[in-house]
């Protein structure tokens, strides 16, 4: 994943021109092109608005790390470093991944017949030490991101209010949500296609 020119999913899967997976992706050309266009919109947009490149890549590293997707996390970590992030920020994200990793999906349903399927799991809160390195805005983003990755059915207006209180405007939250949700797609496509191609 260098720059924004090459197709990110092709790079993550190791798809070369003329290979069987290249032919399969070519049968869904709009999906292929617009998965890449989404990547550009979220990580190399024409205007970053209020959400900085560092914030976008920091969340990317965190999401990929929580998925245990090492190669994807490494790719986003390189882009985070290229965006000028301090080493302390990259280290704080790496430490947060270690603290926050668990297994999903879990969460609760509205009280009723589905309550028997309620499954409890951790609610992640950034440690005081990490909060100093991340700052309040990214700390709030990582707490929200953990919920979205592992227990999205626990989402509530309170999760969004915490982001608003930490300085994320409504439009910024839409972008943050798209980053986490899109990566949940991109990582799974990469894992699925690698498996289909018989790669570990």
């Amino acid at each position: 994943m260098s720059g924004t020119d090459g197709d990110v999913i092709d790079a993550l899967v190791g798809i070369t021109p003329g290979s069987p997976l290249d032919a399969i992706r070519a049968r869904r050309p709009e999906a292929r092109a617009h998965a890449q266009a989404t990547y550009r919109a979220l990580f190399a947009p024409q205007t970053f608005g209020n959400v900085t490149a560092q914030e976008r890549f920091a969340v990317g590293v965190f999401v990929a790390g929580l998925h245990g997707a090492g190669a994807v996390a490494d790719a986003y970590a390189r882009r985070l470093a290229e965006s000028g992030a301090a080493a302390t920020l990259s280290e704080a994200i790496g430490a947060a991944v270690k603290e926050a990793t668990t297994h999903g999906p879990y969460g609760s349903y509205p009280a009723g017949p589905l309550s028997r399927e309620d499954a409890t799991g951790p609610v992640y809160r950034v440690s005081a030490a990490a909060r100093r390195a991340l700052g309040p805005r990214l700390a709030a983003a990582l707490e929200h991101t953990h919920m979205l990755v592992f227990h999205p059915r626990d989402a509530s207006p309170g999760s969004l209010q915490a982001l608003l209180n930490a300085g994320w405007a409504t439009t910024d939250i839409v972008t943050l949500s798209q980053i986490v949700a899109f990566l949940s797609f991109q990582i799974r496509v990469a894992i699925g296609l690698r498996t289909l191609a018989g790669r570990p």
Binding site: H103, Y109, M147, P157, S159, A181, S184, F185, I191, G192
Partner: protein
């Protein structure tokens, strides 16, 4: 002063998975239709979506919304071979059932039932969950979707083999992967930016 979340109007929250039509109420302020620029409007792709608070909220990041929607449409509507539409919808419904998105599951269970004519099997998926016995081909599609939806992913060569044994070629298996992966995207937006509401009983 920071902004505040929206307080949805009084409504009945659905408490079970259903194929019935649900509403969706946003927790953040969508763009007002009359305030949308030509760029915002184009990002909806389908102009009729201006009626939807969900799409008017996502239109706050128009480039991301437009690319999301065009990805979605090709994965589910591209008619060139691969997995039949009914089974792309089945993968979407199974993913939504496992993540717990009642709204997404309602839409895509409805589509799966419409295109497959297997209403009873689709309803069994909603009622009993992703372990329901739907016959081997559908079981294989549901199991693959669920394994890929787990975090970290539990999808492995055994899922690919089972899909091949059930008669899927590699393009069809790629369609299962994309349909399940896409609903890991869609479920997270639907679940976290608002909530479903049952149409009021009269």
């Amino acid at each position: 002063m920071s902004e505040s979340v929206l307080k949805p109007p009084p409504h009945t929250a659905p408490t079970a998975f259903t194929r019935a039509q649900l509403d969706w109420l946003p927790w953040l302020e969508p763009l007002a239709a009359e305030a949308m620029t030509p760029r915002h409007m184009a990002s909806l792709v389908d102009a009729a979506r201006v009626k939807s608070p969900y799409f008017r909220l996502l239109a706050r990041d128009p480039d991301a919304l437009e690319a999301r929607t065009r990805t979605d449409k090709d994965i589910f509507y591209n008619p060139d071979a691969g997995l039949p539409r009914a089974e792309r919808e089945l993968a979407a419904a199974a993913t939504s059932r496992f993540n717990g998105c009642l709204y997404c599951a309602s839409v895509h269970a409805r589509h799966a039932a419409t295109y497959s004519k297997r209403e009873d099997d689709v309803q069994r998926l909603l009622d009993a969950g992703v372990g329901a016995d739907l016959g081997e081909r559908w079981n294989a599609i549901v199991a693959a979707s669920v394994a890929l939806t787990a975090t970290p992913s539990a999808f492995g060569p055994e899922h690919v083999e089972r899909l091949r044994r059930a008669g899927l070629d590699d393009l069809a298996i790629s369609d299962v992967i994309h349909a399940a992966a896409f609903f890991n995207w869609a479920n997270r937006l639907m679940l976290s930016l608002g909530e479903p509401a049952a149409p009021s009983a009269t």
